[in-house]
């Protein structure tokens, strides 16, 4: 029996070894290298033209998205980027669109013109093309502008619209010329007026779901005031909310874009769009577009390879990019630095780093400490250990208010030595300010110890974990203890909820093509996203000037002055722009990255299978 067992063990070992070898060989075969995928590199000269091609009509494109589709209202605060992708084709056209290079241009399919006719009071005249109609044949007209204004005006606190910026400065929206001319007058100057009236909702559909088309802002204001802060609205206000919520809960009943929704299962798993028969603009080549939910972004490359999807737009990560690179010539991809940028922020409410008042934050020792800390940060090393692994072109971002593809971009970071990783400079700053215990246990000039600092990153984010660990080790060299901890709720941490608070935090901002209004709430005293509690009378004053100027050069100059002050005050350090990636069937033309909020589907009417190619599904 013992002999049998030994013989059995021997056979078992041989068997397992054989199967193990087979499995390894199989794995190796599966991962064998193929011809490299074509990368079309986007740079500032080719943002708007990359992958331009003459395309033929017909065919189906399936796009993988990473969130289930639930909210259909592009003006709703709960809308996600994935929902924007799916809606771009049927958009709910707007006055302007953001091109991939960040320039904001007139939506010439829908609009004939949009002109700033006066700066005092600010007046903008929009002219809608006569042929622009909703897919049910109703003309796109001034009533749609009025509805957009009312729901975005910020008058009703129970209206969960995404943003009231700019809309709350409008005093009137008046239609003329049969509704095809719209005159918008502002009570307060809003130079970023091109950011308004993006997606227009159909007022005639809203009217069927509660909206009273005769409603004025004065009436809405009076009705809201009469409710005296009630959390549940009544009457006409409630009806307006109901119409807004109708668009959130219902797949677009009409379209003003090249496609219309023809199938949207209630489980939110997909949306199918077919060509809008009343489409009045250029293009519209594809017959059908399908947006389909994929739970795990890392599975998108195999789906693309297997022809289950034709386009994917994941957040690039090392493994994913490597996988796409090895997929052969049937797939093309683009990677480009986008509008989202990573940064370290100090919590100036913390007495270790500042205090709640401007004088406390501007105290020489606190400014020196913050400056030394940010000087010791080696941004290049951070990039090399994180995003640089899959994008060697990734480099430090040197502005907080502009990204390199914007006209106002100026280096306001490295000239102050911030992010240089120079520990000698950092030590010198500390010594000059009277700090002791440098490199061992740092003490303020008055002899008190610099307390251990808490640094947080979003749990599960390995890139941020690396960033924080590098930061902590660099601070240790200065004699500062930084305890790296996770946060399960970035929102709670940023709003300083008990148990979630921080001294230093890493997260990302998503910039917009409007650096003025888009960043106002980040650095002005008391604004909603000034999470670190920064306060500077100088910055507030400069923002006030910039916010009322219609001269781009003046605005850019003011914003750069602000950025310089932020560097001198050392309150935050931009690290790098986060990459964006799009990978697609190589026979698809005109698919390109658009890292603005308009996203990569901004030009779906131009998409199509390249002329002469064999369309995989027509």
């Amino acid at each position: 029996m013992a002999k049998d067992r030994n013989r059995g063990r021997g056979r078992l070992t041989v068997g397992m070894a054989a199967i193990g070898a087979l499995a390894l060989a199989f794995t190796a075969a599966c991962s064998s290298s193929k011809a490299s995928t074509t990368q079309t590199s986007a740079n500032e000269n080719t943002w708007n033209t990359i992958n331009t091609a003459s395309v033929k009509d017909g065919g189906t494109v399936t796009v993988g998205i990473e969130k289930q589709l639930g909210d259909w209202n592009p003006l709703d605060s709960s809308i996600s980027a994935d929902q924007v992708y799916a809606l771009d084709g049927v958009y709910y056209a707007g006055a302007f669109i953001s091109d991939p290079d960040g320039s904001v241009v007139l939506n010439t399919n829908t609009m004939a013109s949009a002109t700033l006719s006066s700066t005092s009071p600010e007046t903008v005249v929009y002219k809608i093309k006569p042929g622009a109609v909703w897919s049910d044949g109703t003309p796109i007209d001034a009533s749609d502008f009025v509805y957009d204004w009312l729901v975005n005006s910020g008058t009703d606190p129970n209206m969960l619209n995404a943003s009231s910026t700019g809309y709350n400065d409008i005093s009137s929206v008046v239609g003329s010329d049969g509704g095809k001319t719209v005159t918008v007058t502002f009570s307060t100057a809003f130079p970023d007026w091109k950011s308004l009236f993006g997606p227009l909702l159909p007022a005639h559909i809203a009217a069927k779901h509660g909206y009273d088309e005769s409603m004025t802002l004065a009436q809405l204001t009076a009705d809201v005031k009469a409710e005296n802060g009630a959390t549940t609205s009544t009457g006409a206000v409630l009806q307006l909310e109901n119409s807004f919520n109708y668009f959130s809960n219902t797949a677009p009943p009409v379209s003003s874009g090249p496609y219309e929704v023809t199938n949207a299962p209630s489980d939110g798993s997909s949306v199918t769009e077919t060509k809008n028969p009343k489409w009045y603009g250029d293009g519209g080549h594809l017959a059908t577009m399908v947006f389909k939910y994929i739970a795990d972004a890392s599975q998108e490359p195999t789906a693309l390879q297997n022809g289950e999807i034709n386009v994917m737009y994941p957040q690039p990560e090392t493994d994913l990019v490597t996988q796409v690179k090895g997929m052969g010539s049937s797939v093309k991809y683009q990677i480009a630095a986008g509008y989202e940028w990573e940064h370290f922020d100090f919590n100036l409410n913390s007495t270790a780093l500042g205090g709640k008042t401007e004088s406390a934050q501007e105290a020489a020792d606190k400014v020196a400490l913050r400056t030394a800390m940010l000087t010791a940060v080696d941004r290049k090393a951070i990039i090399a250990r994180t995003v640089g692994l899959f994008d060697p072109a990734s480099k430090p971002l040197n502005s907080r208010l502009f990204i390199p593809q914007q006209a106002g971009y100026t280096d306001n970071i490295s000239k102050y030595g911030l992010g240089s990783g120079s520990s000698s400079s950092a030590e010198s700053i500390l010594k000059k300010a009277g700090f002791t215990g440098i490199g061992t246990a740092l003490k303020y000039p008055d002899g008190t110890a610099v307390p251990a600092l808490t640094m947080r990153y979003t749990s599960g984010n390995s890139i941020r974990q690396t960033e924080c660990n590098l930061f902590a080790s660099e601070m240790k060299a200065l004699g500062i203890t930084v305890n790296v901890e996770t946060t399960s709720s970035l929102g709670k941490s940023l709003t300083h909820a008990a148990g979630y608070d921080y001294d230093v935090i890493v997260f990302a901002w998503v910039d917009t093509p409007f650096p003025n209004s888009g960043n106002y709430s980040l650095y002005v005293t008391g604004q909603g996203q000034n999470y670190g509690g920064y306060t500077s009378a100088q910055v507030d004053a400069l923002y006030k000037t910039a916010s009322s100027s219609f001269d781009t050069a003046t605005v850019n100059s003011d914003l750069n002055k602000i950025d310089n002050i932020l560097s001198q005050d050392a309150i935050t350090l931009p690290l790098y722009q986060k990459d964006q990636m799009v990978a697609y069937d190589s026979t698809l033309g005109n698919v390109r990255i658009n890292s603005t909020a308009q996203e990569f589907t901004y030009n779906v009417q131009e998409w199509g299978y390249v002329s002469g190619s064999a369309s995989p599904s027509s």
């Binding site: 599966c30 639930g70 606190p157 995404a162 209630s266």
Partner: protein
Amino acid sequence: MLVYSVRRLIQSIPILVASTFVIFLMVASSVDPMTPYLTKKPPLSAAQLDSLRVKFGLTKPLLQRYWDWLTGLVLHGTFGSSTQTNYHIGQQLGYAMEVTLRLVVGTILIALILAVIVGVVTAVRQYSKLDYATTTIGFLFLSLPTFWFAVLLKEWAIQFNEATGTHLFDTLWESSPNPPAGFLPQLGDAAQHMILPVVTLALLSYAAWSRFQRASMLEVLGSDYMRLARAKGLSPFRVMFRHGLRNALIPLTTQVALDTAALLSGAVITETIYSWRGMGLFFISSIQMADPNSVMAWLLVTAVFVIVMNLIADLLYAVLDPRIRLA
């Protein structure tokens, strides 16, 4: 048996209520539906955030929130409102259960049949070449991480599709985005999508279950009553299946019942890799969307699965072994 079943179900109600209370406290303290709204850019106004807190019921005391949830469930059969727009928890949960059920039924059928056959054969032919081969394969599957095995299968499937110029294997979803018209084509489409995830789960489940079955069968084969049955002159088939297998199935029944409850709660990794929107993805998505009532709904249904599957296992004991009396 009916009385026993009803009594067991009634006994489970206080356990369920108590567990929902504990779970509610845990969910309320760890899942904050305001999280996604606090970091919006541009930011929501303070009034809008207050309005959301009212909408989500966060301004009420915790006990009242639990009472509202419980009475909603008992009196109206609802799981409470979701914090996600246009999201009906009951409807979504129902769909997720259907998807998971499809996956689990296919998995259990294949895994159970394979496990019983292999378990019995390898026990009867202990230390044979077949025994060594299936044991090796079983341990191989047992040692494979699900995610690795699933990804490997997908790679193999894609290579097969490419090599043959066909599209036999689908690597994602429970059906095509726009399935073909007609019942039979739709059935074919669904079956095609089932192949890879079912094979993944079935082979991994089979590996464990076949070991259970083999061990149990070996124990039974050496027992006195088996010798007695053979001594009485019963046919080998009758001895093996009537007396042997029936008793040897009892331990496997417990294991399969527990594993089925776990599978019904969602095979998170498999569902994620194949993008099957079953119970596993429902749970993950509910956590990601910081939707407390959805998390509660999932946990409640999962608890019911465990109770029911345990009850089924107990009932099956009585069927398999007449000496077991349920009282």
